[in-house]
């Protein structure tokens, strides 16, 4: 009898040991699909996965990196198939919600709870990751939009970063007097105009109104929307922008800044990747000035991870998400790519001066806008951006343009 008990105990011990070992070392295949195809993000992604691999040597990790636009097409097919990836990179906000609405995404609320992310991550990140009180998205990195300006020109003319609308107009006037175009913009691919719309709308009508606007429920002829275009018209008609913006792609328009012919660009912080080193060093940024609302909301598109409902290796996938939420899983994106990450425990020393300022703005924001074509249904956002370019060309016809845009809105959202 004793023997049997000892035997059983030993067996149980062995069993529990076996289980313990299993929990520590994940195995099987983990498939991660990513769109981080530019050189710096690609290297950071590889490094991140290598670190994870070292932690779980028995795991067979397959990382597939696809070019950004191709990824956007392909992921739809993959998600609808029976063998989707276990983890994939995606965009926060409406684009994430679209897949969630179609029941393609795994609920990861328990990961958020266990890793304490509800307390750790700033409010703005949570608003873009949680749908119907359940977390589906793991925010991983972001970058801010703001007015990037040439510090040298500002210093030479004794200008300071404007904080209000009137100060901005003053800066613009001083620049014009000195034969410098205040703003450059390249709108051949239309989306850059949406940055202006977003910022004007958020500063004039507030973040909550902007959130309502992007659901498509606000008529384009609503007084508040009209007001945005009236303000915007002032800027265009005062010649605060370069000539023929629709002739240039966004980075071709950078030439104006490289040759000191223009001083400012409303753009994402990825402007540094396309600017020459010389210009990049001269660049600094300020948040879009307050108009009627103080600048407490920011525009910062968030990238992160999601798991398909039919993920094969759930255990390993979830472990990867936990890793991606940790300091180790985020730090190299700050140091190597210059991104801002949601985990506040990533030390300040990892950031440079400018990105640290970005982080403060993002963590303190009442809300983080994701950019018009990520916040709004993409199909309609593309239509709307076409009208924004038309408005830019013919600002005096803004009411007519808004009325036609309203027809499009009704067609799209009420069909």
């Amino acid at each position: 009898m004793k023997k049997i008990i000892i035997f059983t105990l030993a067996f149980c011990l062995l069993l529990s040991f076996g289980v313990a070992v299993e929990a520590d070392s994940l195995d099987g295949e983990l498939i991660i699909d990513a769109y981080t195809s530019d050189p710096a993000p690609r290297a950071a992604m590889n490094e991140m996965v290598e670190t994870f691999q070292e932690m779980h040597p028995d795991l067979d990790i397959e990382l597939n990196i696809t070019a950004h636009e191709d990824f956007k097409h392909a992921i739809r097919t993959w998600l609808a198939s029976d063998t989707p990836p276990d983890v994939f990179t995606w965009f926060a906000g409406e684009r994430a919600e679209y897949f969630v609405r179609n029941n393609l995404i795994r609920d990861i609320t328990h990961i958020w709870e266990e890793e304490g992310l509800f307390d750790l991550y700033a409010e703005g990140y949570q608003r873009e990751s949680i749908f119907d009180d359940k977390a589906y998205f793991l925010p991983h990195q972001t970058y801010i939009w703001g007015v990037f300006y040439n510090q040298e020109i500002f210093a030479d003319l004794g200008l300071e970063e404007p904080e209000t609308w009137d100060e901005l107009i003053e800066v613009n006037e001083t620049l014009k007097e000195n034969d410098i175009t205040p703003f450059t913009i390249g709108s051949r691919y239309e989306w850059t105009t949406a940055g202006w719309f977003d910022h004007l709308n958020i500063r004039i009508n507030g973040f909550d109104f902007h959130q309502e606007f992007v659901t498509g429920e606000v008529p384009m002829t609503d007084d508040r929307v009209v007001k945005v275009f009236e303000k915007w018209k002032e800027l265009i008609e005062s010649d605060y922008f370069i000539e023929y913006p629709a002739s240039y792609s966004w980075h071709e328009a950078l030439e104006y800044m490289e040759d000191d012919e223009a001083a400012m660009y409303l753009m994402g912080s990825f402007i540094h990747d396309s600017a020459t080193d010389e210009l990049s060093e001269k660049l600094s940024f300020f948040p879009f000035p307050a108009i009627e609302k103080s600048p407490t909301a920011v525009e910062a598109p968030i990238d992160g991870y999601m798991m398909p409902v039919h993920a094969q290796n759930v255990e390993a996938g979830e472990e990867f998400l936990r890793f991606a939420a940790s300091v180790e899983g985020q730090q190299n994106w700050v140091e190597d790519v210059g991104r801002v990450v949601p985990n506040p425990n990533v030390p300040e020393e990892s950031y440079d001066e400018e990105t640290l300022r970005e982080r403060e703005l993002i963590d303190g924001a009442e809300g983080i806008a994701q950019f018009l074509d990520r916040d709004m249904e993409e199909d309609f956002a593309i239509t709307m951006m076409g009208y924004l370019v038309e408005f830019w060309e013919n600002p005096e016809h803004y009411m007519d343009i808004l009325e036609r845009l309203e027809d499009e809105r009704q067609f799209h959202f009420e069909q």
Partner: protein
């Protein structure tokens, strides 16, 4: 023996026919089917009858695109065809440097349209482009403009880049056509005292008729499927003013994920093209009585 004659062609054809079915015929029918559905590439297609076509025929972008395609056809039929014919006749003469000119004029054809589109985008750039720069140098400042951002002229600026490429192609086809005209016919006409114009008008041009048919059909199809130049140079902008059917279709299907709607544009584009392909096939039949000879 007889059985062999019947079976062996089919035996040889079976593989190409199979591949053709898989890659062309079945997808074509699938496109027809998709055009009757709402499909976002994510969930399965949902049958909605002719709703896509109803929307298409009331969508102003469709008419803008159609009109722009028409502009392509008209300009393409006039400019590169006449210029190509003229150059072919000129360069078929034994003039010094003819080979060099032929090579030069044909050379844009060697470049991918995407590359040509990029080059012309640079030429048209209002800030640092060759065109505005040259105009300023020769004192024609008033003519400078944003060639690709001016809604009234952007489409013609794009078509011009297409013309630059297509002219060499037309020239080459006509050059080939000219070699098939027996030189003694022209010689005889010359001896009979026909002038250069009379020789062209009454001998060369009529004998070039089959070549002209090919040129026109190719030009038509080429201008209807114009996609690359538009996509690279303006992507249909500013505000849809340079949109053409192919790019419109592409954007609906792959940027907006309205696959069903995109398919309906494809079907319309296909039907328009079928008209020209039919004309072409009938022409060939008449000329060779049964299509024994291939181009």
């Amino acid at each position: 023996m007889k059985r062999d004659k019947f079976f062996s062609p089919w035996l040889f054809l079976i593989l190409p026919l199979l591949l053709y079915a898989i890659w062309v015929v079945i997808p074509a029918f699938y496109t027809f089917f998709l055009s009757l559905t709402r499909y976002d590439g994510l969930l399965s297609p949902e049958f909605i009858g002719l709703a896509n076509y109803e929307r298409l025929f009331s969508h102003d972008t469709f008419y803008i695109s159609l009109l722009n395609n028409l502009r392509w056809v008209v300009v393409f039929l006039i400019v590169p065809v006449t210029m190509g014919l003229f150059l072919a006749i000129l360069l078929s003469k034994k003039i010094p440097g003819a080979r060099l000119f032929k090579a030069l004029i044909y050379s844009p054809m060697v470049l991918a349209p995407v590359v040509i589109g990029l080059i012309w985008t640079w030429i048209y750039s209002p800030r640092s482009g060759l065109l505005n720069h040259t105009l300023t140098l020769v004192g024609l400042q008033t003519l400078t403009r944003g060639w690709l951002s001016d809604p009234d002229i952007a489409i013609y600026a794009i078509i011009f880049a297409g013309v630059w490429r297509h002219t060499g192609y037309v020239m080459l086809i006509y050059l080939a056509g000219l070699t098939s005209i027996p030189p003694d016919l022209i010689e005889a006409a010359r001896i009979d005292g026909a002038s250069a114009w009379q020789r062209f008008r009454h001998i060369i041009f009529p004998l070039l008729k089959p070549t002209t048919t090919i040129v026109i059909v190719i030009t038509m199809i080429e201008s209807l499927r114009s996609f690359d130049f538009v996509n690279i140079m303006t992507d249909g902008g500013p505000f849809r003013q340079t949109e053409v059917l192919a790019n419109f279709m592409y954007k609906e299907a792959f940027a907006r994920y309205n696959m069903g709607y995109g398919a309906s544009i494809a079907v319309i584009l296909f039907l328009i093209m079928v008209i020209f392909i039919f004309i072409y096939v009938i022409q060939r039949r008449e000329e060779y009585g049964g299509g024994e000879k291939v181009v």
